[in-house]
Symmetry: C2
């Protein structure tokens, strides 16, 4: 490819970007932002994306068969699982103007995932125990209604996804496949140069299962996720599910004081409150009220400085849906305006749950259940019965310990590069999809789903592999293998020679070469463009290189003259 002809030449600066990967990819001419979270892949970017997808395809072919599902689907499929009202990123499609609506006023779904599309197809073809297990995958666009797409290619409204679905006759069979899939995923990350910094991490199973799902997380300072690592056990948790034990607070020689209610109108955030009351933050208490799907009201308290992890709490409460109580319920139950709830003197119908971070405190604060008032010097036994059990339903924070061993977590930022989910029998049930066993009986089907986002990985690769001068692509996904730079090209002899070398490399050696053939650009500019674009091997031909070429790796500083036949 001649660089002079490339749509997507390097830019010195760009105006708006939301992340390092967006900046470098746009500056280097890999992508062009069409709108927030929606990118056009220019030739360079399209080549990187294709290479990432081809690596994923080759590995997935060892465990599944490729198909290609559409982006549009009828609403009826999504009604069948109920997800039409539940997925908060769901897009629909309909005629955009009067002419179009007059032709056809129907509405369709723009698929954010493809379980609903695949179920009726699988059901058509595979229903005997002999057909199982099987696994189907595709590499296709996905669409999600992200409010503010950010992080460049790491989170988009429209993005590429490899999604694989496995089907099994038993949970045991599913688990064997699931464990094997982790190995296949690591082969992908190995080929992408990410394996050393990528870990398997427990994450939420979402609404489908109480089991964990597993995320493949690559250590990355600009990643969106926070990982909690238990060194002694070599276990990784996503912050959202990490079990946690708060650092103990010790009050030497402090005596229990009598409770008193203090007026503090509008002082609701714990930091403000601690300052106002002149107490440490950990003496404050955050109380939230929730309602279950059965209409029960739950009061939950954590020590100031923590947030409640609703998913952890839901599992403890043992309900299906847990949502924040409405202001009306809060007022009814606490007899106070929202913001002053505590665990004191609540009606008996309200079940109280306390996080373990609340334990071991003396003279702590708590909402007084009285508008504008906060109770100080609350103590267990005296003001509030000490619960039989303290739970763990807070969102883990840096500094917390892993409860089982008591060791402090190692905490780091990471970017998700893949995830795998046990789906249980849920989707098969929704589509009344069963298999017939050897005795002719209909039995339940167990499923898993397995995602990797090629466009997201492209973003993560840039976040991981760049320096102050630009991108440093891992060789297997680089848009070209060689970046040939021609200098002194206004000299027709040199120009002819440079083009001959380009032809030799591409036609005879069959190498992928980007040739910077621009005549009106300085050597410095060409070198800095090459560094920005990040192709692994740089070659320079100039007045000074004679019948050799200058060779330099993007990742090293040393350049040397080499013979052409040393290049391959």
């Amino acid at each position: 490819m001649l660089y002079s002809k490339l749509l997507g030449k390097s830019k010195k600066t760009i105006a708006n970007y939301d992340s390092t990967n967006a900046r470098l990819l746009e500056q280097g001419g890999f992508v062009s932002k069409t709108m927030s979270g929606v990118y056009t892949y220019l030739l360079l970017g399209q080549r990187v994306l294709n290479k990432i997808e081809q690596i994923i395809r080759e590995e997935m072919d060892t465990i599944g068969q490729e198909i290609l599902m559409p982006s549009l689907s009828p609403k009826s499929l999504w009604e069948q699982t109920g997800r039409i009202t539940k997925i908060d990123a769901l897009f629909k499609v309909l005629g955009a103007n009067e002419l179009s609506l007059k032709k056809n006023s129907a509405e369709y779904i723009l698929n954010p995932t493809h379980e609903e599309i695949l179920m009726p197809i699988a059901k058509q073809y595979f229903s005997s125990y002999k057909d199982f297990p099987f696994a189907i995958y595709q590499i296709q666009w996905k669409f999600r209604n992200e409010p503010r797409a950010k992080s460049g290619l790491m989170r988009g409204r429209e993005f590429r996804m490899k999604d694989l679905y496995s089907f099994h006759t038993s949970e045991e069979d599913f688990k064997i496949y699931y464990e094997h899939s982790k190995k296949v995923y690591f082969r992908v990350f190995e080929r992408l140069g990410l394996e050393k910094d990528t870990v398997i991490c427990m994450a939420s199973g979402g609404v489908f299962t109480d089991d964990f799902s597993h995320e493949f997380q690559t250590k990355c300072e600009t990643g969106e996720d926070t990982i909690f690592y238990v060194k002694s056990k070599n276990l990784y948790y996503n912050k959202e599910v990490a079990p946690s034990q708060a650092p103990k607070v010790i009050y030497k020689e402090e005596k229990e004081l009598p409770r008193k209610d203090v007026e503090g109108k509008g002082i609701i955030r714990v930091e403000e409150l601690a300052e106002f009351l002149r107490i440490p933050v950990e003496k404050t208490t955050k109380t939230l009220l929730f309602e279950t799907e059965k209409g029960e009201v739950i009061a939950a308290g954590v020590r100031g400085g923590y947030d409640i992890n609703e998913e952890k709490l839901r599992k403890i409460v043992g309900c299906k849906i847990l949502k924040l109580a409405t202001p009306e319920t809060v007022k009814k139950v606490t007899k106070a305006e929202v913001g002053y709830a505590g665990l004191l003197d609540l009606p008996k119908t309200v079940k109280i749950f306390m996080d373990e971070s609340m334990d071991n405190r003396i003279n702590f604060e708590m909402g007084a259940n009285k508008t504008h008032y906060h109770s100080m010097n609350v103590n267990f036994g005296k003001d509030l019965p000490k619960p039989k059990i303290f739970y763990d339903f807070k969102l883990a924070e840096k500094g917390d310990a892993y409860p089982e061993t008591g060791e402090e977590y190692v905490v780091f930022k990471a970017a998700e590069v893949g995830n795998i989910f046990p789906l249980g029998t849920r989707f098969a049930d929704d589509f009344d999809y069963t298999y017939t066993d050897q005795q002719g009986k209909r039995k339940k089907i167990y499923m898993g789903c397995y995602g990797i986002g090629p466009s997201r990985i492209m973003g993560v690769l840039v976040e991981k592999f760049h320096d102050e001068r630009g991108i440093v692509w891992p060789e297997p996904v680089a848009p070209f293998k060689y970046h040939l730079i021609g200098l002194d090209l206004k000299d027709q002899k040199i120009k002819k020679h440079a083009f001959e070398i380009y032809k030799l490399l591409t036609t005879n050696y069959k190498l992928e070469v980007l040739f910077d053939d621009r005549e009106d650009v300085s050597a410095g500019e060409k070198f800095s463009d090459a560094d920005l674009i990040g192709i692994p091997h740089r070659l320079v031909v100039s007045r000074r290189t004679g019948d050799k070429v200058e060779y330099k790796k993007r990742s090293s500083k040393e350049a040397k003259l080499v013979n052409l036949d040393e290049i391959q």
Copy 2:
């Protein structure tokens, strides 16, 4: 690939299909219909599609550079060209439920074509005369709000498209590229096995240009288009633009009779009217009233049996927009209810246009411009002034002649497999995209666009290449090269042998093989499945084939025993 594991095994019959290609592709397990006009490509279909796209890609790489544009775009881009209200197939995208709308209530366009997306990108990078000409292409999904998608893969709501856009500094330069693109297109059709039956045909330039566009049309009885061929000139016209001359009607010794008005309430269609009045259809006249963008009213008449081609008429009238007059206008102008309009006694403000098919008639019929009445025995000179010019604005019909030579058209059905359009300066103008010439002056940019639909081509290939037993794929796009059929596989020795051959072919010979390894299926069923699927080369291994295999081409009837090393 083991056939026993394939998602998408052959079906004896399928319930609903709209075309031969839909039936054979669904029966053969290539696709599964997700909804009308929206298909899932199963492994076999996905492989065919990929091969078609790879052929297109290789040829397009000789004349353009590949990028990948998104499916979502902001409305603002479509407002810039005004096409947001004009494209009658335009889809928009927005949150599908309350949760989603609450997160983000914005609306986007789901792209049916990509001029609007490419213009701002091209403008960013190429603006000097030195950068021109250039051409950019992609292979991507397109979405169109088709009311009733039919014809299987030949017309979908969601389909694959290769769209290339070329940019030029002058119309002359554009034309050189445009002519060259035709040759490149024919290389594609040659590789697909379609070149012999494919012709370049003049078609409507749409709203962008008064020039013709060009369609690549493959002769095909089930095609959606009708082509008019001028043999002596070797010219092809799409019916929608074919110039036409109606067969002359000769009235031997018929004398002109006095006009009379006959009551015929509700008799409006010309066939009914001819029967009612006991005259031949060609003596009836169809009159339609139109309004231009300036509010002028036009009356246009053609002989019964023809329809008016509004696009031809628009060019003759010389206006930008021509639309059927509203019922109110018809009543005002003709002083009669709709359905009884004629060219007699119209107000002077109404411009009258007559098609050449109206000429040479005696005692013809015409609406009387009087509710429920038809005028009979109308004659030029007496009842109606003979116009100075008769035009050609009818939709050509079989039997018509090419006006220039007077020869009758050869008419045939065809399926569009590609189209190329001169776009003029329209899109560049809308985006204020110009280039700077050698003198530093800003000049207009001329563009062309060039489409081929890979999924549509897959449908056309099936329409063209099938027999009563199934599909007969051209070798370059067949999903596999060899279909290996194992018989007598319940015999473990034969089974082992068959698997060894499969391994030899795939691992040693690196051939693409679909291996029918099913044990519980009869030979007859396997052969008929192989015929249905249409892989070019069939191999059979059975108790009777010994150390050889039976070889048969899908397109021939003869089978013969061959040595394994003869296969490659």
